[in-house]
Amino acid sequence: MNSTILNYIQNNKDSIFNEWLDATKENADERVTKVVSDQVFIGTSREFIDLIISNIKSSNEEFTSKLSDFSEKIVRLGWPLSFVTKGLQTFGKIVFEDMQETGIVTQENQMKVIYEFDSWMTPMVNEVVNMYSSTWERTVSLQKIALQELSAPLIPVFEGITVMPLVGTIDTERAKQIMENLLNGVVKHRSEVVLIDITGVPVVDTMVAHHIIQAADAVRLVGAKCMLVGIRPEIAQTIVNLGIDLNQFTTKNTLKKGVEAALELTSRKIVNVEGVE
């Protein structure tokens, strides 16, 4: 890095920062200004500028580790990537124009300065973009795993009775998992009755219905009985409108009624006890 540029930035850090802050705030989209307070915005922006400046001073490894910390923080704050890359551009533009005004950049050395600026900025932009995308990739893959773990749990509630509560949208991937977990679980827990609870499924269309019917058929093949519970009134209506026949199922509108029916099927019931010490 050219020492004139370096010196200029260090000596005029505050005025550059203020100019940069004004320009940036004007351009910051709602996503940024809405989610963070003024204080956080200014604090983080200062950190951002300090970081840019430290790139000039510190060693490569030091900068990379600082940049990675900063990127993580920004991602957590929910700042868009475009905002950060734009911020870098604006920073470069301000420094360059100020240096032109004060006569440090002249007609003669202009090309040389631009070239140096570029070789300083480009790796930094690349680094930020890389940091962002790897943070996202990690987040997405973690969420995917978390979602898979959540997607179709099978819970034994009584001897021979298990419940599969389904919450959220069912896509092809999840439908496969439901089937797998059901069959494995039924065998593992020696279930006689399996209750599939769809209280938390927002839309039951023909695909979802088809998968549930197939799952129930499969459960029957391994020797257990399948019950469909948690059918909200509006879902019951749409199922009827679609013309889907659920007669082969025992259906109950609540999980509670389902469990009672399952107990009855396995010749048991819940009773109140009196006089227990």
Partner: protein
């Protein structure tokens, strides 16, 4: 235009986006929970058919007004392979994909009006309307 918004259907999750859009518009118009469920389910069927049979297309949700009546119209358009025999696909149980074959006849029953226009080679255009009462 304020009264129409669209979702491109390219992958499976776009179906969820289309449903969400439809549910929001239905709520805005004042449809009750049962009709909201009918509308979202109809959108789900049409969007999934696009995804499955045409590969890609578009689902638009329109607010429509006729005299004193307000309604919601789903417009599902694709330029996929189209449908040969319209009468056949409207029969309960007809499916070329091993499905239940309940989607299209189901949408017709879920909604108040149903229009299908399809030609082999040029694609499919379906309009389904629900009136607020």
């Amino acid at each position: 235009m304020e009264n129409q918004s669209c979702v491109k259907i390219i992958n499976e999750w776009d179906i969820v986006a289309a449903r969400q859009l439809g549910r929001n518009v239905a709520k805005e118009l004042g449809f009750g929970t049962v009709d909201q469920a009918r509308i979202t389910t109809a959108i789900s069927e049409l969007a999934r058919n696009i995804y499955l049979y045409a590969g890609q297309g578009q689902v638009c949700i329109e607010k429509i007004y006729d005299g004193g009546k307000a309604g919601l119209r789903i417009v599902a358009v694709d330029s996929g392979p189209g449908i040969n025999d319209l009468r056949q696909v409207m029969e309960d149980g007809f499916s070329t994909s091993g499905g239940l074959g309940a989607g299209l006849p189901g949408v017709k029953r879920l909604m108040d009006e149903f229009l299908i226009d399809s030609n082999p080679g040029t694609g499919t255009d379906i309009k389904a309307t629900k009136w607020l009462r």
